[in-house]
């Protein structure tokens, strides 16, 4: 919203000479964010009136003239001019070199067909006064020469503040200049001169008479109307507004239309309360009815757009039809035109939530709606009506009131002022700054609060226009004092606190450790992908669930319109993107997955996903090794097992076509299949145009949110006796694997500490596979005897042979 300092100064004498940036800063720091500040009308000081003294044709161009003129006794100029209406003795307007015209064009010294032009004679178009103009301005004969237009046209320099509307969300009182002036007066400790005295009210009420009002007001109780004032006027003459009104409106970005429309805008911008003026002759019947629509209908607003209204929308109707969409916009049928002579003025207040609902549905935000949706004060309506009457009488002295003000709506006297009890102690304690009682009362009174001082307490009566929504409790009073004092004037101080130890929760610790391990040991990069996925991605994956149950109604695109239940589809996308750039890469994500649930609507899992990609080799075993090490590092007890016929994996549907037929391992954590490592099936990779191999590992970390992990590390005394080792090589056929060897060995009962490890694997042909095993034996109490060792060897070999695993021959 734009605010004019010149307008503010009508109510509070703020020094015009203060630097604009300083004024803007003061307002930003005390009231609302100023997004920009601009000095206007400086331009009119630069352009001046001149009288043409000499005209000669341009020697090089048919349509151009060389025009000379005097600015004053000492200075004369010559310009190249293409206007056809230029003539000797003409009074017109001269912009010298260096001037920036309102149309955004700066005059620079330039030769036109070889002759230097010392500036420019201006048309209305070039001065931004008209959209189009036939030639240069032709001023009246009587115009004095050498005068700048600021003086000639009695314009004023002004400072315009552009205020961020968002920072006024809670302040309906600041949507007009009078309210802003009150802020300036509080911030600068300047007086606030309110013209709206009791005497002023009485004078204007003197214009009412005893005739019957030609237009009555009838508010239906279920409508969104809180208060409705109406006043009828006759003998109005619709013309152009005087320049001062036009200037004010233009300064804050509104286009002047005619005196009556301009007055309604002017009053709204001054007092923050919207109003509507009807051509009374367009209203059928002798009253306006404010009611909820009982059926849907189409209504053409004054911007000539048909709007679909629905039952329940509040409208202002005459005997036959709706005239205005309450609080938002008038209809095309009842507005003021050049022919209008009889007026009906409406100043009303509406329930914020309801007009907002209608406006949101229609996607129609107007100046009026922006004010009503902030919750206005019904008690300001009457003043607004009188101010409108005052301006109409000022601009059309012939206009006359017919009857008196008509009113319907809530009983305004029932509205009791809000009183808040607080104390200097509470205010200063919350702000953390000593402020004198006198100062606090002064600030509140400047902001129109009434303060009664008790022994310890302050009884603060809130102005009605502040208590519609904004001010509710003591905290709000603290804010009023704090912002005027300036928060920057409060000294930072550490609070007195009990010392208690804090730690990250177990899940958070695991996340950090996993990040460190995977980045530093596994050489993977952490990524974050979107938690939303779309149908086309799921199709590409042949994903077994369509995820319709967690679908957004207002997604931004169909590619991201539902919540993912797994990191896998996102990982395929990330892999496809990076496989274009890199031959080998590894990445991981600590992400969420979302699962619909009848009872709570949804559950979320915290999942660690790790992906290894390699163009040439198969990374699945490598990934499994890293995940096993990660499990040890994180102290997560984890068994690596094959697919189980009964207990299925919780993180991937094992029947999904993307699961590699031979590369799949469950990670069983605390008895549950809460982890998985598997290769992605080449068919799915092909769908993503990924050449190469991809392995994905997933671990559900959700349970560690609450459960801390025990430290598994333990120490046993170093053995004083030597250990023994013996190696042997067995031969596996194509149907056997090293797991078969371990299955046998782990079942053996040997009376010593024993470990079996693979020493080497040799695969000379396609079928045979030779595995050299090492068995390590030790006893903490004694040196093992040769006989015992021999016995063990035989036991092992016998057991292996029983399982058809034979020693390598020769």
């Amino acid at each position: 919203m734009l605010i004019s300092l010149d307008w503010i100064r009508e109510f509070s004498p703020i020094d015009m000479e203060l630097p604009p940036d300083e004024l803007a800063l003061k307002l930003t720091m005390g009231t609302a964010e100023v997004e920009g500040v601009e000095t206007i009308n400086m331009f009119w000081k630069e352009v001046k009136t001149v009288e043409v003294t000499h005209i000669e044709p341009h020697p090089e161009a048919d349509k151009l003239n060389l025009v000379s003129f005097k600015l004053n006794d000492n200075e004369s100029f010559r310009v190249v001019c293409g206007a056809s209406n230029v003539r000797l003795g003409m009074k017109t307007i001269f912009a010298p070199i260096g001037t920036t015209l309102p149309i955004g064009f700066t005059l620079e010294p330039k030769k036109i067909r070889g002759i230097l032009s010392e500036g420019m004679l201006c048309s209305e178009e070039e001065l931004g006064l008209a959209d189009k103009s036939p030639g240069i301005m032709d001023l009246p004969e009587t115009t004095p020469v050498g005068v700048d237009l600021l003086t000639l046209w009695d314009k004023k320099e002004d400072i315009i503040f552009d205020i961020d509307n968002k920072s006024l969300t809670h302040r309906p009182d600041l949507w007009g200049h009078f309210g802003m002036a009150r802020e300036f007066s509080a911030l600068y400790e300047a007086p606030l001169n309110s013209p709206f005295s009791e005497e002023w009210t009485k004078n204007l009420e003197g214009l009412f008479n005893n005739e019957k009002s030609p237009m009555g007001v009838n508010v239906e109780a279920d409508s969104s109307c809180l208060a409705y004032f109406g006043l009828s006027l006759d003998n109005v003459l619709v013309t152009d507004s005087p320049q001062w009104i036009k200037d004010r409106l233009l300064a804050v970005g509104l286009r002047p239309i005619n005196n009556i429309v301009d007055i309604s805008n002017y009053v709204m911008l001054e007092l923050g309360m919207p109003l509507h003026i009807f051509d009374r002759e367009e209203i059928e019947g002798d009253s306006v009815n404010i009611k909820c629509l009982d059926k849907n209908l189409s209504f053409t607003t004054l911007d000539e757009i048909d709007r679909d209204l629905v039952a329940g929308d509040t409208v202002i109707c005459d005997a036959n039809k709706p005239l205005v969409l309450a609080g938002i916009m008038g209809g095309l049928n009842s507005g003021v035109t050049e022919k209008t002579t009889k007026l009906f003025i409406e100043v009303a207040n509406w329930k914020a939530a309801e007009v907002r609902k209608t406006s949101t549905r229609l996607g129609l935000r107007t100046d009026s709606l922006m004010r009503y949706e902030k919750t206005l004060d019904s008690q300001l309506c009457y003043r607004t009506l009188l101010r409108t009457l005052e301006l109409i009488k000022q601009l059309c002295p012939g206009a006359s009131v017919v009857g008196k003000v008509e009113y319907d709506g809530q009983n305004l006297e029932d509205i009791k002022p809000l009183v808040i009890n607080t104390s200097v102690f509470e205010i200063t304690k919350t702000l953390g700054k000593e402020i004198s009682t006198h100062k606090i009362i002064d600030i509140l009174e400047r902001l129109d609060f009434k303060v009664t001082k008790g022994d310890e307490s302050l009884e603060v009566t809130v102005p009605s226009y502040r208590s519609t929504k904004d001010i509710e409790c003591q905290a709000d009073i603290v804010e009023e004092v704090g912002r005027v004092i300036g928060y920057d004037n409060i000294t930072p101080v550490g609070p007195l606190l009990d010392v208690t130890p804090v730690r990250l929760n177990p899940l958070h610790i695991i996340k950090r450790k996993a990040q460190d391990f995977l980045s530093q040991h596994s050489h993977a990069f952490e990524v974050t992908s979107y938690p939303m996925v779309g149908k086309s991605l799921l199709n590409k994956c042949q994903w077994p669930n369509n995820l319709e149950s967690l679908k957004l109604v207002n997604s931004l695109s169909v590619e991201q319109d539902r919540m993912r239940d797994s990191l896998i589809p996102s990982f395929l996308e990330v892999t496809a993107l990076n496989a274009k750039t890199y031959d080998d890469f590894r990445f991981f994500e600590l992400g969420r997955t979302y699962h619909h649930n009848e009872k709570n609507f949804s559950d979320e899992k915290v999942v660690l996903g790790v992906a290894f990609y390699s163009r040439k080799s198969d990374p699945t075993l490598d990934l499994l090794n890293h995940i096993e090490r990660l499990g040890n590092f994180l102290n997560i007890p984890m068994d690596i097992t094959d697919s189980h016929p009964k207990f299925k994996n919780n993180l991937v549907e094992e029947s999904w076509v993307g699961v590699h037929p031979f590369e799949f391992k469950n990670l069983r954590i605390m008895g549950k299949m809460d982890g998985v490592v598997f290769g992605i099936h080449p068919l799915i990779l092909k769908n993503f145009k990924i050449k190469g191999n991809l392995a994905i590992g997933l671990i559900d970390l959700t349970q560690f949110e609450k459960r801390s992990i025990k430290d598994k590390l333990s120490y046993s005394p170093l053995s004083k006796f030597p250990s023994s080792r013996f190696d042997y090589t067995v031969c596996l056929d194509e149907n056997q694997s090293v797991a078969d060897i371990f299955n046998v060995l782990n079942k053996l009962k040997i009376k010593a500490e024993v470990r079996h490890k693979i020493v080497d694997i040799y695969t000379p042909g396609k079928t045979d596979c030779f595995v050299t095993m090492g068995t390590f034996l030790s006893d903490p109490e004694k040196t093992l005897e040769g006989d015992f060792i021999k016995e063990c060897e035989e036991k092992i070999i016998f057991a292996l042979e029983k399982a058809s695993i034979y020693l390598k021959k020769g």
């Binding site: 720091m29 302040r171 939530a353 912002r483 928060y487 609070p495 208690t500 952490e526 990524v527």
Partner: protein, 353 residues
Amino acid sequence: MVEQLDSLALEFKEKIKNLKGEAEVLNLKSEFLGKKGKVSEILKGLRNCTPEERKVVGPKANKLKDDIGDLVSLKLQEFELVQINQKLEENKIDLNNRESFWFNKNKSGGIHPRSMIQREIEDVFLSMGFEVLDGPHIEDEFHNFEALNIPGDHPARDMQDTFWFNDPDSPEGKKHLLRTHTSTIQVRGMRERTPPFRFIAPGTVFRCERTDASHEMVFNQLEGMMVGENISVGNLIYFMKTLLKEIFKRDTEVRLRPGFFPFVEPGFELDIQCLICSGKGCSVCKKTGWVELLPCGIVHPNVLKSGGIDPEKYNGFAFGLGLDRLVMMRYGIDDIRHLNSGDLRFNTQFSAF
């Protein structure tokens, strides 16, 4: 005799200098120290000496033996060194052939730049006694709005464009949505605790906004809250200044101006002096010299009430910080969309080693 020993020492030193080979050295050694060596020869004359002379000559002779032994081992090591070096030269490796010079051999890794900044901030607050919390992404209207003093008809609901779920079964007022701010964690945090307490809550939030270089529909915030008996605006400013000093590793000029957020009263916008232009005004700060960094304020009594806390007895402050924005400021990242792109050309720039 002493003179003889001294001259022998000089002689040995002179002779050993020019020897070439192990055998020559060992021969020289036995020439001097052997049973019939030069030293023994001289020491034969010892029996004719007086006890006083013996006291001088004895140690002198022993020292000479030791010195000769040391010189011999040194000389032998010299020869060995040459031999080993020859072998080393045959098997030498090229230390210039480092993996960082190779295509596709540079196996680095790293955490997300957002995680790095998040950790830093978490650690600052941990050190000041704040816990770290998070909550669900899918929330209901109550936790996202009502409990935070944003009733159904409040215009502030427009300030945050919300993603809503297709959710016909939940009652009005309990409809499900993607949380628009981490402030939802305030509500959950308060309900699980009794004052005094303090916590921060970093997390992902969602806004139904068209994305561009500076807007994302999925981004990250960090919420903070402290509740106790006498918490003041002065305390809030203290914590914010401390935080910023730790993050930016220098005293940062900040300013606190009024800002409207329904869940705090009084509410503030905290601006920091633009780090790009040091407050002179540039395109980043839109010529103002200040960058809006975090909204904060004294917790609204209604919010304390929805958290089950007596606002007559306790008060507190809360703040929110745009984590992604901070990451972008710290590293000069030009497009917020890179953060969630999964494009490793971006992530590899933040490798840990």
